[in-house]
């Protein structure tokens, strides 16, 4: 019966007729696709899409913000979507538990934990101490470091992170993050112009809101087709979550790495600045003020992080690969004065670690280095937890 | 005549392959795709067909694309006999 039905129902179709029908169908599909793309470009929901995350739902959140150039080995992907970055972090797991004294660590790659396993980072070492706040809450540190050396990036992160109700913010800085002209160098800042512009406006930053480094997608780039790379990156970030959950790996650990330079060039310049004087105007001190304002009433501890102090060739001219002595010495003086003038909680730990506790860079420390640093911070956390405690 | 072939095949399959002489096999029941006859017994079946009907089934033909039911196999045998 089926056969007869289809026979009578099916009119003999000529090639041309079917081709026309096929073309009509194709045209309709194309039109739908174009409309969908236009709607997407008009609404441009990319930032909101970043909030959709399988982390903290299907698998545990990451212990640090996602960053990775070699996803296949690192099981980690760099994305430029701030919402997506935080959505994949454990801090986004849910409301803050009642018994938690929440500490946010803001900083560069040394805080993020370059070459360190998630269990070896500064945040992990602090958590391992099992410290309790003055009011008896459990101190819980969250690693919000991100491997870019720029204070503007730190401000962007801390400003976003304040919604997670920290009880204390520890901001680890180093001179390399200060030069005023390199604040916007990284794509994370360039690709979030709206966020950065609002920070510029709110905190009166010296950055130019129309800086040509800002990336503004054209209409075509805002369509689904134009956003395909960003969309794919968001998707890949979720997929690599499976391997993150399965292996606990979130970084490409090379078998061996080039140790930080001990023998140095006889170069006295710092980012094109010449001795003898480091001018405050060359440093993005306004970003420090912005960060302090962003943190608001929550206690803040600013730490000048440890650097490698070399004893090798030309070490009388430079401390390490990053810093000529004159510039770094003056930076410390500037910071000390500024902290005093503004009344900041400031800790200068620049020479805390011996040479052997550094790995592949003058600011990346070993697990033991992270432990030593944590030991310095723990008493200060204890002290600061008294502020605002009943 | 086809029915003779079919019943002879059915008898052989039931008795020799399935070892259930009383089992009835429908002439349109899939034999290979259902897994009722595995590849070993398929060779046996081809040897039986060769002996019984003088029809050669090539090694490349022992699959469900050539025949999957008794009816199809009987048809094939009849075609080759004539």
């Amino acid at each position: 019966m089926d056969g007869r039905l289809s026979e009578t129902d099916q009119k003999p179709r000529t090639g041309g007729a079917v081709l026309r029908a096929a073309l009509r169908l194709l045209a309709k599909a194309l039109l739908c696709f174009v409309i969908l793309n236009i709607l997407f470009a008009l609404a441009y929901p990319m930032p909101e899409l970043g909030r959709i995350s399988a982390y903290n739902v299907l698998f545990p959140g990451r212990l640090r913000l996602p960053y990775g150039d070699n996803p296949q080995r690192a099981y980690n992907v760099s994305v430029l979507n701030l919402n997506a970055m935080f959505a994949s972090q454990e801090i986004n797991a849910g409301p803050k538990p009642a018994g938690e004294y929440r500490v946010l660590l803001i900083g560069d790659s040394s805080t993020w934990g370059w070459l360190l396993k998630p269990s070896q980072t500064l945040a992990a070492q602090i958590n391992r101490a099992g410290l309790r706040s003055a009011d008896g809450r459990m101190v819980r540190a969250y690693n919000l470091g991100y491997p870019i050396m720029s204070l503007a990036k730190d401000v962007m992160i801390v400003d976003h992170a304040m919604r997670y109700q920290p009880d204390l913010v520890i901001w680890l800085v180093t001179l390399e993050s200060f030069p005023a002209d390199k604040q916007l160098v990284h794509p994370l800042l360039q690709h979030n112009p709206d966020i950065e512009r609002s920070l510029i406006a709110r905190y009166g930053l010296r950055l130019n809101p129309n800086d040509p480094q800002f990336y503004t997608p054209t209409f075509l780039e805002r369509t689904i087709v134009g956003s395909r790379r960003d969309l794919a990156d968001l998707f890949r970030l979720q997929l690599y979550g499976v391997l993150w959950a399965a292996t606990g790996i979130d970084q490409d650990y090379p078998d061996r790495y080039e140790p930080a330079a001990i023998d140095l060039q006889a170069d006295t310049t710092f980012h094109g600045l010449q001795p003898p004087t480091l001018h405050e105007g060359d440093l993005a001190l306004d970003e420090l003020d912005a960060g302090v304002r962003a943190v608001g009433h929550v206690p803040l501890l600013i730490v000048n992080e440890p650097i490698l102090i070399s004893n090798g060739q030309n070490s009388r001219i430079r401390y390490d690969f990053f810093y000529p002595r004159w510039a770094y010495d003056q930076y410390r003086v500037i910071m000390e004065k500024l902290a005093q003038a503004r009344g900041w909680n400031y800790l200068d730990l620049w020479n805390l670690l011996p040479m052997k506790e550094f790995t592949n860079s003058a600011v990346h420390y070993t697990p033991a280095g992270a432990q030593i640093l944590a030991a310095q911070l723990l008493p200060r956390i204890g002290q600061l937890s008294r502020i605002g405690a009943p | 005549m086809t029915t003779d072939i079919t019943s002879s095949l059915a008898q052989y399959i039931a008795a020799q392959i399935l070892q259930q002489p009383k089992r009835k096999i429908a002439s349109d029941a899939p034999l290979i795709s259902s897994g009722l006859i595995d590849s070993f017994h398929l060779v046996d079946l081809s040897l039986f067909v060769e002996k019984q009907f003088g029809v050669l089934l090539d090694d490349s033909e022992l699959n469900k694309d050539t025949f999957d039911t008794l009816a199809q196999l009987a048809q094939l045998i009849r075609e080759r006999q004539s």
Binding site: G15, A246, T247 | Q20, D38, S39, F40, S46
Partner: protein
């Protein structure tokens, strides 16, 4: 095939299909030539680059050369017959040779332009001409040696298998690379088995062996295949890289058909290509991110996540492979070629025997035709001097273990593929024993029933409750799938220790 080549092939085939729809016969009669030219180009275009100088030109040329040589080998008496009987076949052969040589030279001439078909610049034209002469000489020699002595065709079959072993066995491939590096004057200490990645050779070899074997048994008659059909069959571009392995008589039947590929063919073809692209580039490539591999197998320590990686591999390999097959079948449809199906819901089968009727069907079928069936037939009909015959169990064991090990080795001559083959051989054998046991049990039950005069003939083994049968079906499917999925652990991981470690981890034993 990557997405670019698939899109290019799709564009080509769809254009051809649309032209056929619009112009019908006027275009359709060029079908064979379009297939031939596209396929010969594809042999070069799809070959990936290799560190050895010009190898990305020579290996595709070798594919074509081998194909021509085998054609001459199986076809010498036919050629003579054609010469006596008429000139049409000869003219077609000459035209085909001209076209093939022209394409090879055209690819070679890209050396002097900026548009390359091969990954690297082809060798100079004199070397190419010499190679063509070598192929012609080898073809003449092979034709003279085997053309009239089909009994000797096991020699070229053996040579192809030997070539296969050289390319698939790491140690031999490395030695071959050393030899080739010496010839090209490249550093031999860099030699690696990875230097030799002969695109499509596994499939090509199987098509050639199939044809040679059928010729030697007389199933295939000399002169049955034109050179154009034969080259198109062996290197047909949709199925060049990942099968399916069609049978030559089936392929040529479709290729010769004067039926114009219709709208239905194109709609179905388009659907298959679309489905294939989705399976391969969306599903498989997504799963590939966290599918079991040597690296993550060593890094994962928790039980549930290890299971997830194993499942991901099982579905990844299915979607990857069946996606490619869909694309191949879809492309073929536009030329009116119905390539055989390679997959038939393999993960929804109730036992391993049926699984192997539905997974990589054309490969399993090939091994049944050229190994399992003849071996079983020979052992089954063998009677020893004392009048004894081999027991079915011994024959089944021999046939199945042999077949599965060979299928394993076809994927690569390494211990892990042997283990994978053995895993499936063991599974099939156990399933066989179980089937035998249940048949005997059923027979006993029948015998009992015979003594009971009220009994009726049974058509199906009686099942007490229908839902119980359904439930058993689901359980069987789940068990079969898991047996196959666990088997992939051997397949996915390069060494047995690692595979064993994963097995231990899956049951929560050992890190």
């Amino acid at each position: 095939m990557n997405l670019t080549s698939i899109l290019a092939f799709t564009a080509l085939t769809v254009t051809f299909g649309v032209l056929v729809l619009l112009a019908g016969e006027r275009i359709r009669r060029y079908k064979g030539w379009v297939m031939l030219v596209a396929s010969v180009f594809a042999v070069y275009w799809l070959q990936s680059s290799m560190p050895l100088r010009n190898l990305d030109f020579w290996l595709p040329t070798a594919s074509l050369g081998l194909t021509v040589i085998v054609w001459v080998t199986i076809n010498i008496p036919g050629r003579i017959a054609a010469r006596e009987g008429g000139t049409v076949a000869t003219r077609d052969t000459l035209a085909t040779l001209t076209v093939v040589v022209a394409v090879v030279l055209l690819v070679g001439l890209t050396r002097y332009t900026d548009i390359l078909i091969t990954p690297s610049r082809p060798p100079d034209i004199v070397s190419i001409l010499i190679s063509l002469i070598v192929v012609a000489a080898l073809a003449a020699a092979a034709g003279a040696a085997f053309g009239r002595r089909t009994g000797l065709l096991s020699i070229p079959i053996f040579l192809i298998v030997a070539l296969f072993v050289i390319f698939k066995l790491d140690a031999l491939a490395r030695s071959a690379s050393v030899v080739l590096r010496t010839l090209t004057g490249q550093a031999t200490d860099q030699a690696s088995a990875l230097d030799l990645r002969w695109l499509g050779f596994s499939y090509l070899a199987f098509r050639l062996i199939h044809v040679l074997r059928d010729r030697s048994t007389g199933k295939l008659k000399a002169g049955a295949l034109s050179l154009r059909e034969f080259v198109s069959y062996v290197v047909f571009f949709p199925s060049l890289t990942a099968g399916p392995i069609d049978r030559v008589e089936h392929f040529t039947k479709d290729a010769r058909s004067t039926l114009t590929p219709g709208v239905d063919d194109m709609v179905e073809g388009g659907r298959r290509i679309f489905a294939g692209v989705f399976k391969k580039f969306v599903l498989a490539d997504t799963l590939a991110i966290f599918a079991l591999n040597a690296t993550n197998a060593a890094q994962t320590h928790s039980v549930p996540w290890t299971w997830l990686l194993v499942y991901a591999f099982a579905f990844r390999i299915f979607f990857d492979f069946s996606g490619y097959t869909d694309i191949a079948i879809g492309l073929g449809r536009f030329f009116g070629i119905k390539l055989p199906e390679n997959f038939d819901h393999p993960y929804l089968k109730r036992n391993l025997t049926v699984f192997w009727n539905s997974w990589h069907i054309t490969l399993a079928q090939w091994f049944r035709t050229y190994f399992f069936n003849p071996v079983t037939r020979a052992l089954r009909t063998r009677t020893f001097a004392n009048g004894k015959t081999l027991s079915p169990t011994v024959i089944i064991l021999t046939g199945q273990v042999g077949t599965m090990l060979l299928i394993g080795l076809w994927h690569g001559i390494t211990w892990n593929f042997v283990a994978w083959g053995a895993w499936h051989a063991a599974g099939l054998f156990v399933h066989n024993l179980w089937t035998d046991y249940s048949h005997r049990r059923a027979a006993r039950a029948e015998q009992k029933a015979l003594n009971d005069p009220s009994s009726q003939p049974v058509s199906e083994p009686a099942s007490p409750l229908p839902y119980r049968a359904g439930l058993m079906g689901v359980v069987n499917v789940v068990i079969t799938f898991h047996y196959v999925a666990l088997g992939w652990i051997w397949f996915a991981l390069p060494n047995l220790d690692l595979s064993l470690a994963v097995f231990r981890r899956l049951v929560g034993a050992g890190g």
